[in-house]
């Protein structure tokens, strides 16, 4: 079983909705250890994506992800705009030209996205950033694919790991982003970027038909 352009479009539509639904929650996570705008930033970005999506006639999944990349870069601002934008851009690059994606392609896509975030943001696992959602997701996806899982299962494994990774940021001290100014005071709060990344990855799984 493979997924194609429809999956990519469904993933993005699901993301638009989930970001809008969780806007207030993400703002309030960011209020605790940041500057109370993460939900606003992402929602602004994905609303712009929604507008663009209506006029886009994509031929490949990469077309969809490239549009998301450039729209997020152009509309989000803040730290998360260039970081997530780069994630989508690199993800698109990893599947350039393909119309159907199998499990290995999905692992490549997730890996490229994560590497893009690291390239721009230089964060390491445990720094209490969105990387703490992406890295476990990439690892779980790779493990699932190696064990022969199909695309929905690979994406489910990634989303589960991202969710756990986001929750696991709670006891951490931050070493990147605004939360790093807080020192010990960041302990006990979930990183908003890790949380939003886990929401995004869950939509990828749902779009692939995870049960």
């Amino acid at each position: 079983m493979t997924v194609g352009t429809d999956w990519a479009t469904a993933w993005v539509r699901g993301t638009i909705d989930t970001v809008s639904e969780h806007r207030a929650e993400l703002i309030s996570l960011d209020r605790e250890i940041g500057d109370a705008d993460h939900g606003e930033n992402l929602d602004r970005g994905f609303q712009a994506v929604a507008t663009k999506l209506d006029t886009l006639t994509p031929e490949t999944p990469a077309d969809v992800l490239k549009m998301v990349a450039s729209t997020l870069i152009s509309t989000v601002g803040g730290a998360s705009g260039p970081l997530l934008g780069t994630a989508y851009l690199k993800a698109a690059g990893s599947i350039a030209g393909k119309t159907e994606l199998g499990s290995a392609d999905i692992v490549a896509l997730l890996t490229a996205a994560r590497d893009g975030v690291v390239l721009r943001g230089k964060a390491e696992p445990g720094d209490k950033t969105m990387i703490d959602a992406w890295t476990p997701a990439v690892e779980a996806a790779a493990a699932a694919e190696a064990a022969g899982a199909d695309v929905p299962a690979v994406l489910s494994a990634a989303a589960d790991a991202a969710e756990k990774g986001a929750a696991d940021t709670e006891p951490l001290v931050a070493r990147k982003g605004r939360a790093s100014y807080l020192g010990e005071r960041a302990i006990g709060h979930r990183d908003p970027g890790a949380q939003s990344s886990s929401l995004i990855l869950r939509e990828a799984a749902i779009a692939a038909g995870e049960k």
Partner: protein, 333 residues
Amino acid sequence: MKKLINDPKNVVDESVAGFALAHADLVTLSTEPLFIARSDAPVSGKVGLVSGGGSGHEPLHAGFVGFGMLDAAVPGPVFTSPTPDPIIAATQAVDGGSGVLHIVKNYTGDVLNFETAADLAEAEGITVRTVIVDDDVAVKDSLYTAGRRGVAGTVLVEKIAGAAAERGDSLDEVATVAEKVVAQVRSMGVALTPSVVPHAGEPSFTLADDEIEIGIGIHGEPGRAKISLEPADQIVDRLLEPILEDLPFESGDDVLLFVNGMGGTPQIELYILYRRAAEVLAERGITVTRSLVGNYVTALEMQGASLTVLKLDDELTTLWDAPVQTAALRWGR
């Protein structure tokens, strides 16, 4: 949340529009994408200076656009860095053929968005150099953080680099002067009350009736510690100590002393802080030869203030004194 605004979504657009109307003699407005430029931009042969960042810190940056200071300011949403698009457009609009300097406060979002913009502007054939301002000594262990934040010292960088550009310095020379200011300026702030981001509608942090936050950032990011309210003189001592130790500032130094209000603090209080800060510096043999007091780098309606000390030499003093004509800082013309 009580604010003199219309729809929270339009706060930045409407405010920037009002700014451009009120200062039509100094600036022109671009709305798509959003930036403010000197009305005579691009100034042929002059290095262009572009700064920007989240809104809510006014008069930073638009208030410093004009002769002898910035060529363009790019306002992002409140407390959120602008995206690369308006930064690129502003960079193109002010390039007079001698390159453009980006002055960027050290926050992950600002750095990343300006970096992307600089890459793309370079791809368009404009030479861009970037100076990162990180004057906030409240952030310790910068190895284990996103690094020190850029706060009130940014105004001094913009003024002095702007004067260097205005006198005809090359891009490298302007960047070198800006980096010298960054190297010699240190700041630290205190908050008495939080600010409320319009789209969030709630205070970004809370302080009890007798609590203050020492080492606050200009977005209300928490600082070093919450402590009980103290007399102003003690607060000054607490802020000044880490500033002076850090460079360090030493007996015999000439400095510019800058007391900055965070937006909601009355001026009567800023001068009380100034008095004590000047006293402490005098006791240490440090001579205040230039001063600045007022709301220049704010955090919306936050009550609080920051102290900034810049070590001066003849070059920096001359550039500080050079004429400037902007909405928020003006002398000599």
